[in-house]
């Protein structure tokens, strides 16, 4: 396979298909299931735990520049964003910006060795 196409083929096979199969499967399965059913409640709980697990994983074993931010800065950004969401009366954008401010400040003031 040519080197030019490889990144596209990998993206389609490894990332697109495993994601799209759930969306397509849902089109067929949603015909008979109603939104409030217990199976949906369970599947949503599994998906939610999995997603916050991903967040924990990204913050505990980060990649790139994020790895240079100390753990307290990464964990603190999530905790402060969560608290800010309720303090700001369920404002999603305000909460994310507050968390970002904590993270960027932690990165800036922690004395980590970034390449400017």
């Amino acid at each position: 396979m040519s080197d030019f196409l490889l990144p596209y083929v990998l993206m389609i096979v490894v990332a697109f298909l495993p994601t799209e199969m759930w969306r397509s499967l849902a089109v067929y399965l949603s015909r008979d299931l109603n939104e409030g059913s217990q199976i949906i409640v369970w599947i949503r709980a599994v998906a939610t735990a999995l997603l916050t697990g991903i967040v924990a994983k990204l913050m505990l074993s980060p990649t790139g520049e994020l790895a240079l931010v100390p753990l307290w800065g990464r964990a603190g950004a999530i905790a402060v964003a969560f608290a800010a969401f309720f303090i700001l009366r369920r404002n999603v954008i305000g909460a994310v910006l507050t968390g970002e401010a904590v993270l960027i400040s932690a990165a800036y003031f922690s004395g980590a060795h970034f390449n400017f």
């Binding site: 998906a47 735990a49 697990g53 991903i54 964003a81 969560f82 954008i93």
Partner: protein, 216 residues
């Protein structure tokens, strides 16, 4: 917000040496921030391809219940199977939460054009943002680059919090955070998320159900 989150994906794609076209195409095709982060992050960490595919498959499981809950809102008497498959492709956390909030108050006939207009705007802006992130990665100062990589985890924490309605949602949200460090040690970096999802989700479902029954 999702456009900002995908800014970081551009820089991850560049880190593994993929072309800008593939990075932008990944936003149009995959259209799932965490899946794209796992894909490029996994490649950067030399994770075996089948393990990356499995991790993406599991992380994208959320689209099954999300899409199943959404389609009845969009569906009208003339909606074809093809329209539904196309609509399902655009489902993302941002598109989903906005649509669930807005569509119920709209006349059914207006929902399909509104949905595709809104979803196309989101996906095109995000693809552009992925490209800009790819080009700017070297030019962004370190702390800001760290901030961009953190948009995804912070945004997903907040969207999940905003979307949590019943006790099972809240318990699952907390258990995901608590169980992941344990699962990472017990199950390793390949199966940890599946363990967290199944154990955390099932416990949350059972305990959440018990709490609701006691209240009722």
């Amino acid at each position: 917000m999702i456009a900002l989150a995908l800014f970081g994906v551009g820089s991850l794609a560049r880190d593994v040496g993929h072309p800008i076209g593939a990075a932008m195409a990944s936003t149009l095709f995959v259209w799932a921030g965490p899946a794209q982060v796992i894909f490029y992050g996994g490649l950067a960490a030399n994770v075996p391809l089948p393990t990356i595919a499995l991790a993406i498959c599991l992380s994208s499981l959320r689209f099954l219940p999300m899409t199943m809950a959404f389609l009845p809102l969009l569906r009208g008497p003339t909606t074809t199977r093809f329209t539904e498959l196309l609509a399902a492709h655009y489902i993302s956390i941002t598109v989903w939460t906005e649509s669930l909030r807005r569509l119920p108050t709209m006349p059914r006939i207006e929902r399909v054009p509104y949905y595709f207009g809104f979803a196309n705007a989101c996906i095109i802006l995000s693809a552009l943002s992925t490209g800009i992130g790819y080009l700017l990665v070297g030019a962004v100062p370190g702390p800001l680059a760290a901030g961009l990589l953190a948009v995804t985890p912070i945004f997903f924490t907040i969207s999940l919090t905003a979307g949590a309605r019943i006790p099972a949602d809240w318990i699952a949200l907390g258990l995901g955070f608590l169980l992941e460090p344990i699962a990472l040690v017990l199950l390793g970096p390949g199966l940890d998320l599946m363990g967290v999802g199944l154990v955390g989700g099932t416990v949350a479902f059972l305990v959440g159900g018990a709490i609701e029954r006691r209240r009722a």
